[in-house]
Symmetry: C2
Subunit: 440 residues, 2 copies
């Protein structure tokens, strides 16, 4: 004898098998996410790390990244997906739809990390997309458009100083010439690192066609605490703020710490300190919209007994408004120049990157809203101040992002945490959204 | 036929051979320093470096240090000196006097460097002492007291965060327990590093007896430009300023560079920047006597996209007056605490070292003055603000220091430079001083 719930499942399965090529009635699609398995997968991926767990360090093309890639490919293949990759190591895992030549529905995120970072940033969007597909398969769903997971190569800037390498390469915003010029802090060039990781085919331009995806959806932790504070489980991103990164270097003659009197010094660290505080003052004029961060500081030679000779700072500036960001950058750099002049140190600014902000696609957002409603989940439309691969995917494909809360808004730290309950809700909305998009 | 000058040389030689045990007439001692050979030796020693010449990096017990030690020993032995060493790797090269049981005259300096430092700091005092002995031998001089070169292990703080390891060990101001606790930034402990360098005998306390040296003399570059500015070739040190080193660490929760608004941040780098500028203001109240330097800055995790979680600073404070230095340190640390409180970051201070100032011995200075007069060299009595192995040797033995000018006062930098003319004068005064002290 079948129980009532087993009977319902069988009927759903029958429905999808019979009517798989027509638009299904999504109210009958009954998704059951295996959160436990997903959290287990996230933890296993976290083991591929050059550092003390739960602090995760998985830099692009490192031996840990190489191993993580093997793990992901095995996981995708176990779930019956066809795996491929491109010359920079973007990994694609495709669930063939009933209309395999139609533009696919893409979903994914990155799986590299900053130094000593967390378990969920990026990886949730990769393994969450896999779990969405596994739960859709279990529910007997058959997609019309293919659904393709993209595990992007290096969204973080940690190794080569450039973020979103994989997504930028795909949409043509990062050329082969630019890639070939990249070097890490130890002088290893991008091409050698790529080949070390097994990507030995020639590095031509990306062949991603404009109609590869009908839509792209990225699931991500919020990386701040607005959702948590408001007790809302789902954020639907409307805009991604415009990021820019600069490197400011200060140089002086150095000298012996014991001998040179302070009124005769040209100390680049004191210049850099003054600049850091000025930059803070500048941003505090409008703390709601603007952000500036000095995250990387290299002081040379770095001896207790020697006045520094050079200081190199990363200066990350973001604003939802591109013009405001440019104005902010100009004010900061004017300040840097006047400090350099006053302190008689040399100052050089180099531009790492600056991108325009992105708008998420209203139709994709509408589908995500419907998906939330089906599961009785409240949602908040919001701006993403961190940037993501979606910033670049949005330049070519209708794109949307689903945010879930993370504890105390912490991210890029070892105690970054998203609860299984929030993960469950995020994957439910993602799976439903992918299913619906595959018939749009 | 002998020329007149050859005849004078032979007579001098005869004088020293016949009257070697009585006090010689030093007006007849005719020292001829081979500056070219000495400069060549300095340059060869500079090749034992982990870095781009002329920037020299030779850290304690590194493979470069190990190789430099072999070179020095070979050079000492070629000059007919008996070489020995102690368990921390202080190297002794002894020219036996006619009264070998009498306390010897010591002379020397260190041969390790900071990161990417210069060719002359320390090494001039080691190879200069060797050249002094070679020129005394050539002049036919026979010492009464033995003359012993000391090539000290690690005067610089670069590897283990503690300076003057060799001299402190010799005079008993650094215990075996303290040495055993030392670790470098990569976690290698002092004892393993020492053994890697070939010093495998048991690390007991130093056996340097109180009467090992009747006097100790160190030749060094000034490391500032007072002598150069005044056009005076020789500085005779009267006092060495009191050094102190602290490590101040700031900690915050970190976070994503894009999301956390600046008015909610607890950024340890901004706290450290504010502290650096406060410290500068504090010293600028009395720039003549006090010095403070932040030379080593470690920012963690050091990613452009992450707010720093910790910043560690070395804080080097010096003053000729020990009380002033202590007061300065207290004021600085009060400031650090109030900044930490205001910015809601944690702050920890650890004490690396602090030593009292040292007075050079008036009798040794008097001999150095006589030596200067013999060569018609003007001299300046002066304070050394950098500290040296002599700071510690002075706690046990009558000690003196001879300074020579260095170009633009630069030191601890690759373009540190002392002219052959100034080196010649410094070694003449050193040789004459050692000769005279060996009969006192």
């Amino acid at each position: 004898m079948l129980s009532f719930s087993q009977l319902v499942c069988c009927l759903c399965l029958l429905f999808f098998v019979v009517f798989s090529k027509a638009e299904p009635d999504f109210s009958l699609l009954n998704i059951s996410v295996d959160t436990e398995r997903l959290v287990e997968d996230l933890k296993i991926l976290g083991q591929f790390s050059d550092g003390d767990y739960p602090g995760i360090t998985r830099l692009l093309y490192s031996k840990e990244d190489k191993a993580a890639r093997r793990y992901l490919i095995a996981l995708f293949e176990q779930s019956g997906l066809s795996v491929s990759w491109d010359p920079v190591g973007n990994i694609f895992a495709r669930w063939e739809g009933s209309d395999p030549t139609a533009p696919a529905v893409g979903s994914g995120s990155h799986f590299d990390t900053l130094l000593n970072a967390g378990l969920y940033d990026g990886t949730l969007g990769v393994l969450g997309a896999l779990e969405a597909i596994r739960s859709l398969k279990k529910a007997g769903f058959q997609p019309k458009r293919s659904i393709e997971i993209v595990a992007f190569t290096s969204e973080e800037v940690s190794r080569f100083g450039v973020g979103c390498v994989g997504s930028r390469y795909m949409v043509g915003s990062l050329s082969v010439e630019e890639l070939m010029k990249l070097k890490d802090s130890e002088g290893v060039d991008f091409d050698s690192a790529r080949k070390f990781c097994g990507y030995t085919e020639e590095l031509g331009s990306s062949t991603t066609s404009d109609d590869r995806y009908s839509a792209f959806v990225e699931l991500h932790i919020e990386q701040y605490h607005i959702l948590e504070d408001k007790g809302i489980p789902i954020g639907l991103v409307t805009d991604i703020a415009a990021p820019a990164l600069y490197t400011v270097e200060w140089k002086g003659p150095g000298g012996h710490a014991g001998s040179v009197p302070l009124n005769e010094r040209q100390d680049p660290f004191l210049a850099a300190s003054e600049f850091a505080l000025s930059l803070e003052q500048l941003i505090l004029k409008d703390p709601t919209n603007s952000r500036a961060t000095i995250g990387r500081v290299e002081v040379y030679p770095g001896s207790a007994g020697a006045i520094p000779r050079s200081v190199r700072l990363s200066v990350d500036i973001r604003d939802i408004n591109e013009e405001s960001r440019t104005k902010l950058k100009e004010q900061a750099m004017e300040k840097a120049a006047s400090i350099a002049q006053k302190r008689k140190v040399k100052m050089d600014i180099s531009h790492n990157y600056s991108y325009p902000p992105a708008k998420m696609d209203p139709k994709v957002i509408a589908v995500m809203e419907d998906s939330c409603r089906k599961y009785n989940l409240t949602f908040l439309k919001m701006i993403s101040r961190p940037f993501h691969d979606s910033l670049f995917m949005a330049t070519k494909f209708p794109t949307g992002m689903i945010f879930i809360p993370c504890k105390e808004g912490k991210s890029h730290v070892p105690d970054e945490y998203a609860s299984p309950e929030d993960i469950l809700r995020g994957v439910e909305v993602l799976a439903e959204t992918l299913a619906r998009l595959s018939y749009l």
